[in-house]
Symmetry: D3
Subunit: 133 residues, 6 copies
């Protein structure tokens, strides 16, 4: 395992490991090389650079995906990534609301619907990962 991929796995573990695993599984049948290539680039080369903290990086990603409005699954995954790197739900809602100014009201509304869904997924994951008994 090379350094970039190792760094990628460590970085993803802090953001949204379950989300990455789901992508790996979905890509497995159709584009088996792709998951490792993009993981190494996105998390090994870029998101792991020390010049910006992960919380600030998730602000940037949530804002961009909300504004673009054509990547709903990835937006939901990074809203969970925002929670995992220290953003509060209130802050995430605020970032998405702000996109009404820069990308229009529909982009913000659809982003908030994604947040509602992602917060629910996050709640469900916490419940199932808690010790029972």
């Amino acid at each position: 395992m090379d350094d970039r991929y190792k760094r990628a796995l460590e970085t993803v573990a802090k953001i949204n490991e379950a989300g990455s695993d789901r992508i790996a599984e979905a890509m497995g049948e159709i584009a088996p090389d792709f998951h490792r290539l993009i993981m190494s680039f996105a998390y090994g080369d870029i998101n792991s650079r020390p010049q910006l903290d992960l919380k600030s990086r998730e602000i940037a990603t949530i804002a961009a995906l909300t504004a673009m409005g054509n990547a709903r699954p990835q937006l939901e995954a990074h809203i969970i990534g925002g929670l995992n790197t220290g953003l509060t739900r209130e802050e995430i809602v605020e970032i998405i609301m702000q996109m009404a100014v820069y990308a229009g009201v529909p982009a913000a509304l659809n982003g908030l619907m994604a947040a509602r869904k992602a917060f629910q997924v996050h709640d469900d994951e916490k419940k199932t990962s808690q010790p029972r008994g």
Copy 2:
């Protein structure tokens, strides 16, 4: 002057007052009501909300405008806004580089060209605003 507009002016003063003045002047001839309407919404209603600090808001705006790639003058204005609210040049470059992952390499390259221009404008403005001897 109503509260929203007053709050808008106070918030813009912390981000990029010169940029806002240039828009007001450009809009003056053609859409005289528009500057006040959008200032009140963008800065009076949204960006002045206490739920998120201005530095984080500028991260979100720089990321979104880089990703959308069709609002160069506004991107340059908010790169200066980022500097004015506490982001370093290195952090701004990092936010824009990160967009290569989410919006593609051309969006990041064009965003970096905007940053190069905005940093130069920021240098020039500092020089002209310094007291002369």
Copy 3:
């Protein structure tokens, strides 16, 4: 209740009140301030201005949302808004078809699918709101 919000409610009542109520409900749990903020801006500040009639405004909104292609729920809501402000179904279909020229054939096809759905919703709403006697 301030003047902007009052004006917003009056304007929305002419366009698509049921659609706005659904947004208010969906936003209620996650971003309780957002509905009033954007209603006041979108309908209190902009769409209620006397410089352009509501029918022309709905032409503009249906065209823009079809062309952008990333805001399906809002497009459906404004197709109903178009019917409520005096556009015929034939005219709405024509506006969307025209987008094939400016935003490409897929944008127009997907817009027409949204129209098919919205026309059905409009039919259903009329039936349920009719007196049964």
Copy 4:
């Protein structure tokens, strides 16, 4: 000359003939068939259909091109087309302002800058086409 192309020329003559001539000239060297193909489609097949008047069609096109934000020359040409089919400057400004709600404030600001330029071109064209003496 087939019917579609004849109908296209008649329709363009009502919208912005000078703009179409400039495109024909620019395309002449590089894609000589393209001007006639797209003219026949855009104006012969679509914009000349009697189901919607030309003024309403220009509202739709100005709105869409402002919202997309990546077709500045075509937006300027259709702002002139709007003036030629009966929209007032005030109405055109209003359509573009409205896009702040649906596509974000930067799209509206850049659309208004296009309008400022197109209004100036329209003034200049009227001057040069007036009889002197």
Copy 5:
């Protein structure tokens, strides 16, 4: 039947006739003229031109629709069109992966999900069209 429409039908028969039939059916109720107009333009005027082979044309269309990210049904239809004009599954996956560079990783991921679905549809169509004996 005019020449353009005849040429369109012949060209569509080589790309994805079943997909075109589904569009014709969906449009039938709401925009009965539209299918023939856009077929004549897209396949009669453009895609049938001898200057570029159909396989190269499908590369271009798959790439563009993946990059735009807001036309999923049309992307799936053209992935099948790619298979029908001589692209292998491996080549199609490669075209979509490449869009990670130019339009971002989410666009590529969502394109690959469309490919997974389209390959399945293609498998199913082949099964049902085989003689049972």
Copy 6:
């Protein structure tokens, strides 16, 4: 020099080395790490993969950048890349014309203007690189 970067340089040499050098120079002052990172990803990881030939890859990139319409410098660079990997001018014009169907007429027109400029640059570069004797 690692393998990915070496492979990237070899691949870029076949596409558009002068264009890559200009980016390296522009990035040098502001984001010195970025050129190598994206070169390694775009050309070392993706475009050098043997599953698709370079000519087909340039068809995909020219189509995508024309359709997106917000990356003019990169579109011009890849039109030159298309010429360098075996596409004729006529084929490139055809790919761009085809985008009128999928991304709208303005996207195609602006792409053709980019091609006109890139063909001129290509002519000029050939002249200056010829031996003067």
